[in-house]
């Protein structure tokens, strides 16, 4: 655990030593606000809740989170520090986990900084704060899933741009897999249970529930599994690179 914490601390510090972190947070806050106000009709809805704020999070995450994750491994490979890191007496999984947690905590900080929205709805009315808390957790969980996916993409290359594009593309597939357009591609030839399985992977379906403050066991298990599998794949990618 010591090792994981050490990795987390270094990675978090690395985020905040570059102006990029602040730029990211500002963009996230600005877009989250703009989407909620202009697209979501935050005020016009006349409802004291944050649903119009949360529904756009997956789309924001789609390009912001891969940008957070892209440097995790690609940067180490580009600068050669991976050689230093992988020759320290730590297991690959500990390092993978540490990097994931750091990036996830970073998105958590960005998300927490949206608290003025929460203050606003509480000022304007009497929202169900339990629902809001659940939606925040749900939003953070989706960010975590995207981080785990983005970290895998980052481990595949030393080019951060490639890591970003690849990460965003895979996140997009997971986000959209419940949409008819995607399912139609499977319907012709795959068995029904398979189509249902693909549909159940859809992060957007899960998230729509989360945004309403509904956390059900299936969603929690699915997200935890998705993250777990990604971390294992990430470990595998890093270890296979050694055996090349």
């Amino acid at each position: 655990m010591d090792i994981v914490r050490t990795v987390v601390r270094r990675e978090l510090a690395a985020y905040f030593t570059t102006p990029l972190a602040y730029v990211f947070i500002v963009i996230f806050l600005a877009l989250a606000g703009a989407f909620a106000f202009f697209l979501g009709g935050f005020f016009e809805r006349g409802q004291a809740d944050l649903e119009s704020f949360f529904v756009f999070h997956p789309w924001l995450y789609l390009f912001l989170v891969p940008a957070v994750a892209m440097r995790l491994w690609a940067e180490e490979r580009r600068t050669g520090t991976i050689e230093l890191l992988m020759t320290l007496p730590a297991s690959t999984f500990q390092i993978v986990l540490g990097k994931f947690l750091a990036a996830w905590i970073f998105t958590g900080i960005a998300l927490a900084l949206t608290f003025p929205f929460w203050l606003t709805v509480n000022y304007l009315g009497e929202p169900d704060n339990g629902v809001i808390l659940a939606a925040y957790l749900g939003s953070w969980a989706i960010a975590g899933a995207f981080i785990a996916i983005g970290a895998c993409a980052s481990a595949l290359t030393k080019n951060q741009v490639i890591a970003f594009v690849l990460g965003a593309a895979i996140c997009f597939l997971f986000l959209m897999s419940g949409v008819d357009l995607v399912l139609a591609a499977f319907r012709g030839w795959a068995p029904d249970w398979f189509v249902d399985l693909v549909a159940s992977f859809s992060l957007i379906t899960h998230f729509n529930e989360l945004a309403k403050g509904v956390i059900n066991a299936a969603t929690a298990v699915y997200l935890a599994t998705l993250v777990g599998v990604c971390l294992l794949v990430n470990t595998l990618i890093v270890d296979l690179e050694k055996a090349r």
Binding site: D2, I3, R9, R10, A13, E83, T87, L88, P89
Partner: protein, 316 residues
């Protein structure tokens, strides 16, 4: 002598490239092993297998008895490694970087502070301890890499071209450091600079195209040089030809060369047959003929001659 590192038939293939081909050697406590070879010979790949960064295609590497593939953690705990080019996190300060490396190695608190102090002192980093590494000169960055490698006082040190790109003073400092630390450690230093060998190494392993072509003490290698025990002498220019003819009559002499002429004095070089000892014979011979020798020196032999002969065609 306690054996600390042992490589056995270590092999690495990258696709069609046979980077390392059956390399075996061992290093004992107190020994500094110079790992030599032209660029692309396989030095870094061998070191990467020893330190656990690259998995061997076949063969084994052991550190203090621990197989790097089977027990990577135990092996890695016992190694200090300076990778080629001394990579480090540019956004961190030397202090922050050493703290990170120390904590990753399970060193904390006061003990960590003490060890960082020792490492800084040995590498002369105190003055830049809090500056971002990316703003430091190449020499300082190399020292950061060295400080990181010696932080946990490891029994085995693996240094990949620790002096590459440094100025002569910095090179001297690094060599001094290696010498100082060699007493109770096994140290492997890769280089393609031959002067390094005389300066720090007890033993030399030369590698070319992935294979070991020599494993010997520096003096033994010098002995293989065609100029080993050659006699360099200076005589009056007027008598130079006469002296050369006389020396040629010795059956222990393979060849006599006239090298240069300065202020009426010619320098001659007599190469021996099979490294025979010529000095006494030559001086007696010329004395007998009344040819005055201004200066006479016996050559040790040149490592770079040996190196070139052993590795010819091996450079990429």
């Amino acid at each position: 002598m306690q054996e600390m590192v042992r490589l056995e038939r270590l092999t690495k293939r990258f696709g069609a490239v046979q980077a390392v081909d059956g390399v075996s050697f061992s290093v004992a406590r107190g020994e500094v092993l110079g790992f030599l070879g032209p660029n692309g010979a396989g030095k870094s790949t061998t070191m990467r297998m020893l330190t656990g960064f690259v998995l061997p295609t076949s063969g084994t590497a052991r550190v203090m008895g621990f197989d790097v593939v089977r027990e990577p953690r135990r092996a890695k705990e016992r190694i200090g490694y300076l990778p080629e080019g001394a990579p480090s996190y540019g956004d961190m300060s030397p202090l922050g970087f050493l703290r990170f490396v120390g904590e990753m190695r399970g060193i904390h608190g006061k003990e960590l502070a003490r060890r960082i102090g020792v490492a800084f002192e040995r590498t002369g980093l105190e003055e830049v301890a809090n500056r971002p590494i990316e703003t430091l000169s190449k020499g300082f960055r190399r020292r950061v890499g060295l400080a990181q490698a010696i932080l946990h006082d490891p029994p085995v040190l693996v240094l990949d071209e620790p002096t590459d790109g440094l100025d002569p003073n910095q090179k001297h400092e690094v060599r001094k450091l290696v010498r100082e630390m060699s007493r109770d450690k096994a140290i492997i230093v890769s280089t393609h600079i031959l002067e390094e060998v005389d300066a720090v190494c007890d033993r030399v392993v030369i590698i070319a195209r992935g294979r070991i072509v020599a494993d010997a003490r520096p003096e033994e290698l010098e002995r293989r040089s065609p100029t080993h025990n050659a006699v360099r002498l200076t005589v009056d220019r007027e008598r130079a030809t006469e002296a050369m003819d006389a020396i040629r009559t010795l059956n222990t002499v393979r060849e006599v060369r006239r090298l240069e002429e300065v202020n009426g004095v010619a320098t001659l070089l007599a190469l021996p047959v099979d490294g025979a000892d010529l000095g006494a014979q030559v001086s007696q011979l010329l004395y007998g003929r009344g040819i005055r020798i201004e200066r006479l020196a016996v050559e040790r032999g040149r490592l770079d001659d040996v190196f070139r002969e052993l590795t010819q065609g091996g450079s990429a």
